[in-house]
Structure formats: structure tokens, C-alpha cells
Amino acid sequence: MAPFMLNDEDDERNGSVERALIGAAAVAATAGLAYLVARTLGGGGGDKAPISDAPPSALRRGYKPSDALVSRTVTIARPARELYDFWRRFENLAGFMDNVKSVETLDDKRSRWTIAAPGGTEIQFVSRITEDQPGRVIAWESEEDAPVRNSGRVEFLDAAPGRGTMVRATVDYDPPFGTLGRGVAKLLQREPNVQARRDLRRFKQLMETGEITSSASPSGRRSEEPTRQYL
């Protein structure tokens, strides 16, 4: 029996959803989170200068640097270095990011991401690391020819003493062809903020408990199996 079930609503993927995550190698993956396409952080958008000490994604329209900015912070009761190390092996991301099928490391800067797109199709692109501070920050950017340009960064910030690490993942995306909404929906199959929220929750579960929480259980619904998460 597979040790984990990902919470997954997409039929196409559920067949292959059972994946052993801990430790070893699931195949590599792109970020669901990461899959928001991109512009560099802080670029474009707001014209008023905010005085609040909040991260850019929490700012209201008019203050926010870019409408395409998605970010979420989660506190994880583990040391920053451990979390960084897990994330930095991009192969691991497929284990908790919903629509990342695999990530393949090409060299010390570049990796190839395979993303599940609607209708059972896949999208691939190559991502390049733009900043790497062990235990602190990883930032990346898709290469020029990506179908959807994206850039992101994940920061590992010390929480209050004894409380672990605040992990803040931020992704900025660039509409592929045409409207922003269409491109993002195509890629994520889900609203980007929802995607980011769920991916980070799964990351926290995995790091704190060693498994991804699943409520898979029997029910009186004939079409459902007791080993799958449906909602």
C-alpha cells in the first residue's frame, strides 16, 4: 500500500497519485505553487508607497506591486536549514505540489519542470535559479521560451525562538498568450492563491508529521474508493 495519498481532485492524475514521499525520490516536479507565471517580484503595479510592514502580497490594490503576485506564509516547527534542504532538492516538490508531475535537475542552476495541465495534458519548461542562499532563500525564473513565464522565491525566516521557521513562498506570473486569467487557469486548474495555500499546507504536514494528511475513508457513496481523498 502506498504510504501517502495526495489530495487530488483530478481524475487523470489520481491513478498515479500514490507516491512515496518521504526521503526518497519521487520524480522531480514543478511547483504548483511555482507554477504561477512570472515577472520579477516587486515589478509593476502599484503607484502608492505603503508604510505597512506587511509582505507585498498582503497589500491592497494600488499598493500591491503586481496583481499577478501570489504569496503565502506558513510556520513550520522545523529548522530553516532542514526545510531549505528539502525544498532545494526540487525533485521533492512533486510530493506536495498538486499539479507538479516531476522536476528533473539538469545542472546546478537549471531544472526541467513537468506540470499537469487540464485534460490530461502536460506542460514543460526549464527553470533557472536566480538566487540561492543556503538555509535562507531560493529564487527561480523560467527560461525565455516557457509557455507561461513565471518567477518565484521561497524564503525561510526564523520564527520566534522555539517556534521553527516561517516559510514564505511568492510567485509572480506572466500571462502566456492573451489574458492573464486564462493562462493562469490553464496552468493551475485552480485559483492561484488556493493552490499556494494547499501546497504549503501539504509541505507543513510532510515536514512536521512525516506524512501528508488524508481523510480517505469509506462512505456510502458507491463511486468512491476508501483510499482516495475526494474533497
Binding site: A77, R197, R202, E208, T209, S214, S215, A216, S217
Partner: protein
């Protein structure tokens, strides 16, 4: 296996469903030997909880025998265990503070969106209690999958009957935490609203924690009688004005602590259009939290109000003036079951707590739908129902009421 499934308002059925399987390394599967129907199940039965889906298996007060374990479970096949209704990971910030019902990891990443939208932060997971708390199957069934089985289950030593320990799963720790949250001091008079199982355990717990007097309030004579057996003075709210009575009985001071064990049926747990639901529920909520308001208005100056009764949405006409001007303290919450089970098990073993006297019926799973109807319609005579999958259909045993012998 056979299981009790929810199909809508007042529609509970016995169904044949697949057996549960181990899904994660820390899981265990138990063969259920006893599973009780709770006052909280009435809220589901009455259809007040919109995150139920037709076909959901009910039941959060469960115990049984371990029959299968995942590679990281610390349980052993053959052990008898009581399962806390709260599912807790044991390693998040909240679990480390023993705030187990606030566990940050036990509600799956997808279902936790609902309560985050509604309450600001996701609720912890729970068995058989709608998708707001994760959508886990309940244990009113032959078998139950228990996630994070190395954290919750209480291993039961030989020599204790199911009935003696079953309520460690919910209502005993709930009554106990209700009394702990009332911060009882020597000499205190404690008023308890509601003489259902939770209220009855709160009364017992209040005495254990040093209350001088307990005054219990309800309108069912049989339930008030049980409260009296526990040593409480009783008030039938049909006979008296509760506030007047409490004022007089406490010499014009008022109860030092008030424990509200009634709850509000009109939960505001909308899954869709949460904001709209909140408005609708707000309206429904206005006339239901009567006991809650009464507790605040009755409490003495500088006193404590403890609320184990379940609420879901918003309320208006909260007596904020009385609350502030009297300088009250309020504590509430879903019970942090795992925090109390060890201590309470010891108290059961030492005979300090009587956990069986108010059980009124034992019945089979097959008779479950009937039992839900009785629990709903005949609260006076059905004071607690325990379902036993091992019993045959029709084998309903109404228990002789046991005279309580004080410990």
C-alpha cells in the same frame, strides 16, 4: 462492512460500505466494539451542518480492538483502544501546547479551506463530523481508520469494561474541560446549563475540582434526576425564572462560575457562499443561544463562564455590557481530548468518576436509525445510547437505571 450513513435531515441508514484501509504510515484500523451517539450528532441529524455529504459515516465516540497497523503506528494488533474524537498530529505548534483540537495538520489541505474562510484559521480534524473538520469517516461502523494513531488512542488496561472507558473519547473530557475552564475555587457555587451527558460529566467534574455546590438547569425530569444523583441542586426552567432562582440560592452573589452545556443547534457552518450563509444563520441564531446569554447574565461579578456547548456561526444580542461591566472571563473550545485522557483514565480506575450510570440503552448497529430517532424525540428517557456492532438486530437493551454511589 456495515455502517451508519447520513443521507439528509432525519435520514440515517445502515449501509454496506467498503472496509477502511491503511492509507498513511501512522494509521491504524480498529474493529469497533462500542460507539456512542452524541448530542453533537443531533446537530448533524437535524441537518444543521451543511458540510455533510450524503453517504458520510457517522460516529465520533469510538473504541475497539486494533486489527491492522501502519509502519509508523505505535499500536499493536489486539490492543483495546479508545479513540479521541479529535484527530491530532502531536507535532505542530498547537499540539505541543496541548491544544489538540486546534491541530494545524490533521485537517487535510483541501478541506481546511472551509474553516479557514469561516473562522480565519483551519480547524483540526475530527471523526464523523462533516467536511469542515476533514471529512473523516466516523466509527458507527464495524471498522474505523484511525490516522495519527501514535498520538490519540488510549490503550485500555485489562479489567475495564467498554462502558467504563468509552466516554474518554469525548463527553468525559468535554465535561472535565468545561469544569477546568470554570477555574473552580474552594467554596464556589457552579451553575451548569444542560443535563445531557456533557452537563452530567461537568457536574461530576466540578465536584471533583472542589465546587461547594452545583446547581443544574434543564427541563427534562429524568435528566434533572440524574443530576441530583450526582449531588447537584436542580432547576427546571419551566418552573422557575432561572436568574431569579440563582440570585436567591446564592444569597444575592450569583454563581462563581457558569458552565454552558447546551450549545446552539443553528450552526453557521456554510461550505458554499459562506458570507451569505453567515447572514442567514445570524438570523436563525438570534433566538437559540438563550442559555448562553442567561449564563452571562447570571454569573457573579468577576466570575467565569465556560462554554463546552457547540456554536458555529455568528450571534447577535451578545450581552457585551454585562460581560464587560462585571469583568467576566470566558473560555470555550472543542475539547483537547488527548490532554486529559491519561488523568481521567486513572480517575476511572481509582473509582473517582462514575462513567456508566446514565447510559440508558445498548443497541446493535442495525438498530442505529431507530436509535437516532429515539435520541432525537425522547431525550428524557434516552439519556445515552451505546451502539455495539457485535449485537444482533433487535437486541436492544434498556439498562436498569443504576443508583449512583458516590465515590
Amino acid at each position: 462492512m456495515r455502517a451508519l450513513t447520513w443521507h439528509g435531515r432525519h435520514d440515517v441508514r445502515v449501509d454496506t460500505v467498503p472496509d477502511p484501509e491503511i492509507v498513511n504510515p501512522r494509521d491504524a484500523i480498529i474493529k469497533v466494539t462500542s460507539t456512542a451517539i452524541c448530542g453533537s450528532d443531533l446537530h448533524l441529524y437535524d441537518g444543521y451542518i451543511p458540510t455533510m455529504r450524503a453517504g458520510d459515516i457517522l460516529g465520533h465516540e469510538n473504541m475497539g480492538e486494533v486489527v491492522e497497523v501502519g509502519s509508523k503506528s505505535t499500536l499493536k494488533v489486539g490492543q483495546r483502544v479508545v479513540i479521541p474524537f479529535t484527530i491530532s498530529c502531536g507535532s505542530c505548534f498547537h499540539c505541543s501546547k496541548q491544544q489538540y483540537s486546534a491541530c494545524d495538520n490533521s485537517n487535510p489541505a483541501t478541506t481546511s479551506d472551509m474553516s479557514e474562510t469561516l473562522y480565519g484559521y483551519p480547524m483540526g480534524g475530527a471523526f464523523g463530523y462533516a467536511h469542515l473538520t476533514g471529512g473523516y469517516a466516523g466509527g458507527q461502523a464495524e471498522y474505523l481508520r484511525v490516522p495519527y494513531s501514535d498520538v490519540g488512542p488510549v490503550v485500555i488496561p485489562d479489567g475495564l469494561e467498554d462502558d467504563q472507558v468509552l466516554f474518554l473519547s469525548d463527553i468525559l473530557p468535554t465535561g472535565w474541560m468545561g469544569a477546568v475552564n470554570a477555574e473552580i475555587e474552594q467554596g464556589d457555587t457552579v451553575a451548569v446549563w444542560g443535563c445531557g451527558p456533557v452537563g452530567l460529566f461537568a457536574i461530576q467534574s466540578a465536584f471533583q475540582l472542589g465546587a461547594h455546590r452545583v446547581i443544574a438547569i434543564d427541563h427534562y425530569p429524568r435528566r434533572l434526576q440524574l443530576a441530583k444523583q450526582m449531588g447537584a441542586e436542580i432547576l427546571d426552567f419551566r418552573e422557575v425564572d432561572v436568574r431569579d432562582a440563582l440570585f436567591e440560592m446564592t444569597g444575592g452573589i450569583g454563581p462563581d462560575a457558569c458552565i454552558e452545556c447546551v450549545g446552539m443547534e443553528t450552526h453557521g457552518l456554510g461550505i458554499d457562499n459562506l458570507a451569505d450563509h453567515a447572514k442567514v444563520w445570524l438570523k436563525l441564531g438570534t433566538d437559540r443561544p438563550a442559555a448562553f446569554r442567561q449564563a452571562i447574565l447570571s454569573c457573579r461579578k468577576g466570575g467565569r463562564v465556560s462554554v463546552p456547548g457547540v456554536y458555529g456561526g455568528m450571534m447577535d444580542k451578545f450581552p457585551i455590557g454585562a460581560f464587560m461591566e462585571k469583568g467576566l472571563t470566558m473560555k470555550t473550545g472543542q475539547t483537547h481530548v488527548q490532554k486529559y485522557t491519561r488523568q481521567l483514565l486513572e480517575m476511572i480506575q481509582e473509582g473517582k468518576l462514575d462513567t456508566t450510570w446514565f447510559i440508558s440503552h445498548h443497541a446493535s448497529l442495525e438498530d442505529g436509525p431507530d436509535m437516532y430517532r429515539h435520541w432525537h424525540d425522547e431525550q428524557d428517557s434516552y439519556t445515552k445510547i451505546v451502539l455495539k456492532p457485535g449485537l444482533a438486530k433487535g437486541e436492544v437493551k434498556a439498562k436498569q437505571e443504576k443508583q449512583h454511589e458516590p465515590a
